[in-house]
Symmetry: C2
Subunit: 583 residues, 2 copies
């Protein structure tokens, strides 16, 4: 008899079935035993009167009759809790050693590397199989949505050349062309632009991106995936509209309990984001905005910290009046992590400022502050007086902490926000002019602005999409003019020859009828983390690299033999320095 999936048993009440799956548990009641049987589709209770020698995770085939349970045995908390299977025959297909950890929890209580070593067992737990199922359903829904909206999925090369996405490249030594290397793509950026030049109207790809970075909490080590799109003859509204509609039409498929906060997604400028939220990926779903009160306070008091600072910024923490000293110290600690020298505070009590720095503020200033900030009794005011950059960064960091602490964020609210107006250039740590973000973006005003404007004032036609305080996507209207491209790179120190050498494919292509084009890429892993309320990005992958960037299950990376190195014309450097780093 052909096999029935457990979930189909609901349609087979009163019928004989053959089930195949794993023994989750056996409860032996003497005359009768209950087996919890699991397959990919679900779990079911199996009743048998046979004397059994069965262990957890053994693989069995069960023939039996699907029956309604007695009224008193119905378990309404589980999917098939109203039925059970009365066995006629049980066949052991394979045994199992005792699993090194239980599979009936969500697994987060376990040491992660142990779970990863036995990932094939870990994947049997419901939380992880649910992620796999939903990830599949979601990505397929994205693909179909893209297709229905005129996009063509096109696979771009995995063996390619370096692209300046800002991360380190993974190299692949060439055997046929010894001494040369392929590079795993950090993103399909150049290829998708070449596709636009090739006449493709709307491209997309669920694209692997390889970046040899030190492992991070919010990015999978080595390879991660993005929904990568590019559109020719675009407008900003078309580009934004595609992302907005895509999210609107797909997120509810796997996260029906989540609602999109605002549609179309709000847009704020980079400058506003930094000044009001202290972050270029702000969560704007709650207040606690940063306010500049420099003019109110600088040189108006004897408090030299205020008088010596470029700016004084504050957050009115509604209801923070009952914060303890140690809670406020925690806020200061966070501010210091981001470079602030300290965090001043005071509270609004009986329409006056009290405790903290209130002793430096005369009644009139207190009144001004309370009025200007519209602060109320029971509010806590916190201040950072510093350079603008440090004040924003440190208060922005404290703001995010407060948002969580005060439960101002609703996990079922999806607060998408566009950030626009990024600076095209910025000064890097060495004080040298560098690209602010994507060097392939069009500078606002094109060649003319490059020719005439102070580079630090030029805006990029780049935009980010944030979701609940995470950077979800980044995109831009591209630079499609070869001379604008050369000029943009010249400003940061590349000569024309170097541009041609590094990006010759694109540079040449732009001479043959390149259309205006633009696009974006959405990080799938981060989106799924948020939609599925998962906090560990590795669990979005069936077989992730560990937090240390290794595959503990398969033993990668591993040793290779001398013949393989000889074939590639490379050798391992055994110098002492390297040896030391190895440890």
């Amino acid at each position: 008899m052909s096999r029935t999936l457990i979930s189909d048993c609901l349609n087979k009440i009163g019928q004989k079935v053959t089930l195949s799956g794993w023994v989750s548990n056996v409860r032996d009641h003497g005359q009768i035993a209950f087996i919890d049987l699991r397959d990919w589709s679900g779990n079911i209770q199996v009743v048998t009167q046979e004397k059994l020698d069965l262990g957890k995770e053994w693989v069995v085939e069960i023939e039996g009759l699907v029956k309604n349970r007695d009224q008193k045995s119905i378990n309404s908390k589980v999917a098939l809790g109203n039925i059970e299977v009365e066995t006629t025959k049980i066949t052991v297909l394979n045994k199992s050693e005792t699993p090194p950890f239980p599979l009936d929890s969500d697994g987060t209580e376990l040491e992660e590397n142990l779970r990863l070593k036995y990932r094939y067992l870990d994947l049997r737990r419901t939380r992880l199989s649910d992620i796999i199922k939903k990830k599949h359903k979601y990505i397929l829904a994205v693909r179909n949505w893209m297709d229905q909206n005129g996009f063509t999925e096109i696979i771009t090369p995995l063996l390619t050349t370096s692209s300046p996405e800002g991360a380190r490249d993974f190299l692949v030594p060439s055997r046929i062309h010894k001494g040369k290397f392929f590079v795993l793509p950090q993103a399909p950026q150049q290829f998708k632009q070449l596709l636009m030049v090739g006449g493709v109207d709307r491209y997309f790809q669920i694209a692997p991106c390889a970046r040899d970075e030190d492992p991070r909490a919010d990015r999978h080590a080595g390879i991660f995936y993005q929904i990568d799109i590019e559109i020719s003859f675009p407008t900003i509204d078309i580009l934004f509209g595609v992302a907005e509609k895509l999210m609107q039409d797909t997120v509810s498929l796997i996260a029906p309990q989540k609602k999109i906060a605002n549609f179309p997604f709000p847009r704020i400028t980079y400058t506003d984001a930094i000044n009001k939220y202290g972050s270029d990926k702000p969560n704007i779903s709650f207040g606690l905005e940063l306010q500049d009160i420099t003019t109110l306070l600088k040189n108006k008091t004897d408090f030299n910290v205020f008088n010596n600072a470029d700016v004084i910024k504050t957050i009115v923490v509604t209801g923070g009046g009952n914060f303890t000293k140690s809670q406020i110290e925690k806020l200061e600690e966070l501010a210091k992590e981001k470079g602030a020298k300290g965090l001043a505070y005071t509270k609004v009590i009986s329409n006056k400022l009290d405790i903290g720095i209130s002793r430096f503020l005369n009644p009139e200033i207190q009144k001004d502050i309370i009025k200007n900030l519209q602060a109320k009794d029971g509010d806590l005011l916190i201040f950072v007086a510093d350079s603008l950059n440090t004040a924003n960064k440190s208060l922005g960091y404290v703001r995010n902490y407060l948002g969580n602490l005060l439960k101002l964020t609703d996990p079922n609210l999806l607060s998408f926000t566009w950030i626009t107006g990024f600076p095209f250039y910025e000064l890097n740590d060495q004080g040298k002019l560098d690209f602010g973000h994507n060097p392939f973006s069009m500078p606002k005003g094109g060649l003319a602005s490059l020719d005439s404007q102070d580079p630090l004032t030029i805006e990029s036609m780049q935009y980010d999409l944030t979701l609940n305080g995470f950077e979800l996507a980044s995109g831009s209207i591209r630079n499609h003019e070869p001379e604008t491209m050369v000029k943009a790179f010249e400003k940061v120190g590349y000569g024309r020859d170097e541009v041609i050498k590094k990006f010759g494919g694109l540079y040449n292509a732009f001479h043959y009828g390149a259309p205006p084009h633009g696009g974006w890429a959405i990080g799938i892993d981060r989106l799924l983390m948020i939609l599925l309320d998962e906090s560990n990005i590795r669990d979005i992958y069936a077989f992730p690299l560990s937090s240390n960037g290794v595959d503990v299950l398969m033993g990668a990376p591993g040793q290779v033999n001398q013949q393989q190195l000889d074939d590639l014309g490379i050798s391992i450097v055994n110098g002492k320095t390297v040896q030391k780093i190895n440890k």
Copy 2:
């Protein structure tokens, strides 16, 4: 006004539209000029009375009125030949240098590396944009079919360890763990088996496979893609049924003119395939079967070539009686390419054998042969007398040539065939026992047959799917028992420790409730080549590596700098031998 795609103009007759695209051609008739405008969706004729300075492949935006053409101007050979756009405004968005080759042909007349260097132009030709569109539609259809049939797409790692698929690995040096290497997967074989152990019921993936082989005509250099599936608790009929139904339900989407020859697909054994067609990937859609006439001819004549051979095999070439001497010499040449010492022949004329070797055959033998082979007047008989292997291989090769020459194959007939019963082991070139095919397949009879049978007689539970003489897919019921796995590898010289070292992940997993499982992988590129009547596998890719394994557009593989090598702890071997190979 928002942009209209050219193909949508059919629905906009009498309306004003804005089109964006490329100038394919300009025909200037003095008072009036015709522009052939192209975008991703199609081509349309644009009529203008403006004096224009436009070149081929310039990017333009055109505003105008969609009109029916005069009756006498209708071109029924092209899609939008009954309409045209009368311009009100033409804006040049970007110019183009003169393309290095024309774009209105199918491009096959051009030197391929030139096309690849300007791939962004090459992709504008209809043949290539059609491939891209159909490839997208096809793969999406496959994904949806899989989903509807209970399969879950699961992404497996790109940075992994070596797997014994028989090809060379691409290595990726690890920066964090210097001296160690990741490997790009040759196939997701081990991971998909681990997924089965992990409880996944039906897995699939459009999977990239990386093999560092010298470029081949029928496999894309470096990376190629397969439809990879795996099913737990399978039967052969389930596995075959999935492939058959998938093909039946999807191929017509992009190749409606093609018909599946036989459904369900015929199954023949490996032994029959070799003996009757001289190939393990035979095209069985035409006859010309190999016949063994050793008993009829060996030691029955004075012809020593026959008497000294192990076997004498023949093909009756229906209608080959009119082949010229040079045509027959061509056949002999082909047979020799595959190791035959020669190719004997004769013809059936007036119910007797004439010319060629007929002088060695007395009338009675001639009669026997004609009767046994059911040969007819006008037939050509060709013979190879040799070892069984050489006779099969050489005649199989000649048979394929004859199939094409005599137009016995219908390009619109899809002749799918399963090949079963492969030998589990075979002797390699050094006469040593080796795996015949996939080492992860279950040997028929399992551990018992490994223990008791002559290894060379053990069948594998492996099967191939061929299509019109090409190997399309390969699969098997897997070995899921650790002791059977160890024993299978021991026979070819691996110790238990070595098996555990090389395949420890899988070996360990098999101890924790591994279900019986099996699957296959279909080569997408080759399938698309056949469905789209394309002869160059590289044209199935938007950006292929060249026949020499390089990316001539982006310049990959390329040089890297010393810092990158230092970061990875590797160096390039500069020995003289390597230098020589570099040139």
